[in-house]
């Protein structure tokens, strides 16, 4: 895929990621949606579907309740796929944990955005007290644009890491790679156990 194509894919992910908390929450940003779709775009539908399923199921026991931010699964699965399916790319056993790390990093960014929005309340109060239009729609669009820009930067970073795939893989010692391979081999069962636990049924 060309650089422009990859850039467009990264931009699409950045916009779709807003669906996770900021806009809509139609689940269009979930790994089970993004994974297969991005996998097809990048040329490996099966890997996309598998990584999408893993991140989806592992995240089911960490819902966004009461303002809590879970690991950003959209960024995790997209980063993992950009890493694994980049040129030359990294093996899937490195891509999975690397994607999770980037997903946690994105979560920290979102927490900072949330903290910075504390200034919006007093700003709106001031405008309304002066009889001005509070501009709530414009404020929402600005905040979403900032978040999308941050996500786009993370996606570009993941694309760059994927392009350095050969160097990255060379840094990982062989035995560590073996360990990661075992981790990936057992991941379906860990994800399956997470799915079972998410239903909280008493047997």
């Amino acid at each position: 895929m060309t650089g422009i194509g990859l850039g467009l894919a990264a931009a699409a992910i950045a916009v779709l990621e807003l669906d996770a908390t900021a806009a809509g929450q139609f689940m269009a940003s979930r790994p089970l949606i993004i994974g297969p779709t991005l996998g097809i775009v990048l040329g490996n539908p099966a890997l996309g579907a598998c990584l999408g399923a893993f991140y989806e199921l592992l995240g089911l026991n960490d819902p966004p309740v009461g303002g809590r931010l879970p690991l950003n699964a959209t960024v995790a699965v997209s980063s993992a796929l950009f890493l694994a399916l980049g040129t030359p790319g990294v093996p899937a056993e490195i891509a999975f944990p690397a994607g999770a790390v980037l997903g946690w990093g994105q979560r920290r960014l979102e927490e900072r955005f949330r903290a910075s929005r504390g200034r919006l309340g007093p700003l709106v109060d001031q405008r309304l007290n002066r009889g001005l239009d509070p501009g709530l729609g414009r404020l929402a669009l600005c905040e979403m644009a900032k978040q999308a820009a941050a996500t786009f930067s993370v996606m570009l970073f993941a694309l760059w890491l994927g392009s350095q795939g050969g160097k990255l893989s060379a840094w990982v010692p062989g035995r560590v790679l073996s360990g990661l391979r075992v981790g990936l081999a057992f991941l379906p069962w860990l994800a399956g156990a997470s799915l079972l636990r998410s239903f909280k049924v008493a047997l």
């Binding site: 929450q25 097809i40 592992l58 929005r117 069962w189 079972l196 049924v201």
Partner: protein, 262 residues
């Protein structure tokens, strides 16, 4: 409707519905969803016939109060607030401050109750159920050799999840408006816990079926089944412990490689 209180117009309901999709766009730690709720209520105040100054005072009240609930269930609260604001406008001036206090208290109580129901229903039951059903769908397509089985999986997930969610988000505005103060009592009439339990059991059955099919297709069935059981036991006690379990598995693989077994 009581005298003077308006009907919920479909056009205004549509505007509120669209705006409530962005209820979390300005989420912050101080007031949480309050700015998003105020944004959602704006069309109602604009169509209320109130003076511009009164509209802004009402908006300021809602933007300035702490508010947080499950995002889909916010529709009920928005509908209720529209109704109570309308009723407030038709009572004597002297009684309005007390009515405003009551509205705030009702809003907070409804948000809290709806959050508990919404979290359990949508995050705790519908989302995992949709994921399990989508995976079964994907598994069937994959076994039949469909190259883009992931798209079937994604479509199944989106449809199963969004049909009830969109219904709740749309109808919730109207229902909240019709019920007004009676919202908590009317909500109690619905068998939320029964629905949640049925969804959980249905999802659990689908998940169990999927895992049995996967085990049947796997090599080294005993080892895989043992791993699944071990993970399930740990996650039962520590539900969010998957990173540690993943790390431990990688660690065991590393030790096996050191010992020359892998």
């Amino acid at each position: 409707m009581p005298d003077g209180v308006r009907q919920m117009d479909a056009g205004v309901q549509g505007s509120i519905f669209k705006r409530l999709l962005l209820i979390q766009a300005c989420w912050n730690f101080d007031r949480m969803q309050s700015l998003g709720l105020a944004y959602g209520l704006e069309p109602w105040f604009k169509s209320s016939g109130l003076e511009d100054r009164e509209q802004k005072k009402a908006l300021a009240r809602h933007a300035g109060e702490y508010f947080n609930t499950q995002p889909y269930m916010a529709s009920f609260v928005a509908g209720m607030v529209c109704r109570l604001e309308d009723e407030r406008g038709h009572i004597p001036e002297a009684e309005r401050p007390a009515r405003i206090k009551r509205l705030s208290a009702l809003k907070a109580a409804a948000a809290s109750a709806l959050a508990a129901v919404g979290d359990a229903l949508f995050w705790g039951a519908l989302r995992p159920f949709s994921a399990a059903a989508a995976l079964i769908c994907g598994f069937i397509f994959w076994r039949r050799g469909a190259p883009y089985f992931g798209i079937g999986m994604a479509g199944c997930y989106l449809a199963l999840y969004n049909v009830p969610v969109l219904w709740v988000r749309w109808r919730g505005i109207d229902m909240g408006y019709r019920w007004g103060e009676r919202l908590p009592f009317e909500l109690k009439e619905y068998p939320w816990q029964a629905w949640i339990l049925r969804l959980r059991w249905a999802g659990f059955a689908l998940a169990a079926a999927l895992l049995i099919l996967a085990l049947a297709a796997a090599n080294h069935k005993a080892a895989q089944a043992a791993a699944l059981a071990a993970y399930a036991l740990v996650l039962k006690k520590w539900p969010a412990a998957w990173p540690s379990l993943y790390g431990a598995t990688c660690g065991l693989g590393f030790l096996a490689a050191l010992a020359g077994w892998a």
